[in-house]
């Protein structure tokens, strides 16, 4: 019983590792499903509309997601932070969040009847912790936005829609 306090942290780490891994796996499979569903919406980062496009209407569309790292990976990252180098455990997290935000932006465009998004921008910002000591992070927000347009006479042959 005296050892109980020492068991809590490893148990929390193990629990976080298992659940974090499961959530990540589930998210990745849901992402690839959703991505194939929104493939008909073309998103590009070009600012200017090609002169031969006949734009009928446009709307600003936004997709956002707030995502957090599981406790195990946060601890792993802080250990890695001591020696430096790539913090690989964070790379899949941010990649997942960007893909999710892009999908949401595309779905927002579809809801308004558009099929093309130009001038897409992606921003990342860290949300400050609500803990009084200011430690830790409340999560990272990824924001994707762009100008969705509807083209009369359909989209010219720019996109590859397999």
């Amino acid at each position: 019983m005296e050892l109980l306090p020492y068991a809590i942290t490893p148990a929390l780490l193990l629990g976080a590792w298992i659940s974090g891994t499961l959530i990540e796996r589930w998210h990745l499979s849901s992402l690839s499903r959703l991505e194939s569903g929104s493939r008909d919406i073309l998103a590009v980062t070009i600012e200017d509309i090609p002169p031969d496009w006949r734009v009928e209407s446009s709307d600003l569309v936004i997709g956002n997601v707030v995502i957090s790292q599981d406790y195990f990976k946060r601890v792993a990252a802080s250990l890695k932070g001591i020696v430096g180098g790539n913090i690989r455990v964070y790379e899949p997290l941010l990649e997942r969040a960007r893909r999710e935000a892009l999908i949401r932006m595309k779905e927002a465009a579809r809801e308004r009847g558009h099929d093309t998004i130009i001038n897409v921008r992606i921003e990342t910002s860290r949300l400050a912790s609500s803990r009084p000591d200011g430690k830790g992070t409340a999560g990272v927000e990824i924001l994707a936005f762009g100008t969705a347009v509807s083209l009369s006479g359909g989209r010219p042959r720019l996109g590859v829609t397999p």
């Binding site: 629990g15 974090g20 956002n64 406790y71 130009i118 921008r121 409340a138 927000e141 100008t147």
Partner: protein, 104 residues
């Protein structure tokens, strides 16, 4: 109000510039959402409460920016940008700005 983050409103012509317009909101996190987010912070994944909170707040910032443009007699806002900053512990400012224009 037509809003776009491009240099002009696609398919329209700018006939007058009215200047910079902006809108912002500062939101603090809700205690109930915060407890849930605290739990989610252990297991990882999306913090849905925060996603919704920020998207509502950003919507409000855009609305305020639109009112300002309307008051200037503009009918569109071009080159819209967003900025997010943590102004205080547990609170975030959502800021939207752009150029109010008249298009035809």
């Amino acid at each position: 109000m037509l809003i776009s983050n491009t240099q002009e409103i696609p398919g329209k012509t700018i006939v007058a510039f009215h200047g910079v317009v902006s809108g912002s909101t500062v939101r603090a996190k809700h205690i109930g959402k915060d407890i849930m987010a605290g739990l989610k912070n252990v297991v990882g994944g999306e913090l849905k409460g925060y996603t919704d909170l920020l998207s509502e707040a950003r919507g409000e910032a855009i609305r305020r920016m639109s009112y300002q443009a309307e008051a200037m007699g503009a009918n569109a806002i071009v080159n819209v940008r967003f900025a997010t900053s943590s102004v205080a512990q547990g609170a975030a400012e959502l800021f939207a700005y752009g150029t109010a224009v008249k298009v035809e």
